[in-house]
């Protein structure tokens, strides 16, 4: 912590910029964890379904894209939020 105090004493604007960048990284990284797991589950189960019943592959694929789209939205909110955060 004393290191941060030292930097802040020398140049507070620089510290703020750096911490903003760290915050952006944490926001997007955190927002990507859940959707990553979720999309994995969605696609994995869709592949299982397609392998078991190849004749229903078209319907499964459409539903899979829908599921991916809904799951992915959370990660994209994080992506946009990382842009909105400004120091």
């Amino acid at each position: 912590m004393s290191m941060l105090h030292l930097i802040a004493a020398q140049d507070p604007g620089e510290l703020q910029k750096g911490l903003t960048a760290v915050g952006r990284g944490i926001v997007y990284g955190g927002a990507a964890i859940g959707p990553g797991i979720g999309i994995g589950i969605v696609v994995g189960n869709a592949i299982t379904a397609m392998a078991r019943q190849p004749e229903s592959a078209g319907m499964v694929r459409t539903t899979m894209f829908l599921g991916i789209a809904f799951t992915e939205a959370l990660a994209l909110f994080g992506f946009v939020l990382a842009f909105i955060i400004s120091g």
Binding site: F65, A73, L76, F79, V80
Partner: protein, 251 residues
């Protein structure tokens, strides 16, 4: 104002392009191109109707068939075929304004700006509210879409509130953000690797073929073709799902 992508624009142009007269800039130009391209494609395809389609008519017919079979029939059903013109033009407009991301000399996905995705999503919002009001009547539409069947009485107010927010705000916002953020993210990734390649080229010209920058740039360009198609597809299919949920309530 550096319309052609022959040199790197300043980094601030990533999120804020300079505007010319009447606020017209490169992004607006790409949208004009996408509109004209969609119009011209279907007008040429429809001007000479042949029994055995060739050339552009073939492309238009197979893509309309794609929208019909894998979007409308899978989500709304046969009585949603009246929305085929809306969904097909929407698909092509979004696709043409996305695909400029990888066209040399343009290299800018127009949907990486929030304006037009938001307008498209608001248009979809108006369409599914109007369809719900007409097909089910206002009260039935609100009741069917906010009260899911089989929910315990205790948490019903909470669920109804969330579902109401869903059809009021979350649907158009997430639809617009999905298109916008996907295209902006793809554009940023391409820019990152292109800047890396340019820096290596400026250092020593033969360093440009180092695999991590160059091969990834080529691979990601191919990947962005897939993404721009997929985002147009997902936007259209979500529109179809929303219209379908307004036409047929869940039982």
């Amino acid at each position: 104002m550096n319309v052609l992508a022959l040199e790197f624009p300043p980094v601030t142009h990533l999120t804020n392009w300079p505007t010319g007269p009447l606020g017209f800039n490169k992004v607006a130009g790409i949208y004009v191109f996408a509109t004209i391209a969609t119009l011209v494609l279907f007008m040429i395809a429809g001007s000479k109707k042949q029994l055995v389609p060739r050339g552009i008519q073939n492309i238009a017919e197979s893509s309309v068939d794609f929208v019909r079979n894998s979007i409308i029939m899978q989500t709304i059903g046969p009585d949603g075929l009246g929305y085929l013109p809306l969904l097909a033009t929407m698909f092509f407009f979004i696709f043409f304004s996305n695909i400029t991301e990888i066209v040399p000399g343009i290299q800018m996905p127009a949907n990486a700006r929030f304006g037009i995705p938001l307008m498209l999503a608001l248009m979809v919002w108006v369409v599914y509210w109007v369809v719900g009001f007409i097909k089910q009547g206002p009260l039935h539409y609100l009741k069917n879409s906010t009260v899911p069947p089989g929910v315990p009485k205790v948490i019903l107010p909470l669920v109804a509130f969330i579902e109401f927010l869903q059809i009021l705000v979350v649907r158009p916002f997430s639809q617009a953000v999905r298109l916008f953020a996907n295209m902006l993210a793809g554009h940023l990734i391409l820019v990152t690797f292109a800047v890396l390649c340019a820096a290596l080229f400026a250092l020593q010209w033969y360093l440009v073929i180092l695999p991590f920058s160059f091969a990834l740039l080529v691979f990601l360009t191919a990947f962005e073709i897939l993404v721009s198609f997929l985002q147009a597809f997902i936007f259209t299919i979500l529109t179809a799902v929303y219209i379908g949920s307004s036409m047929h309530p869940d039982h």
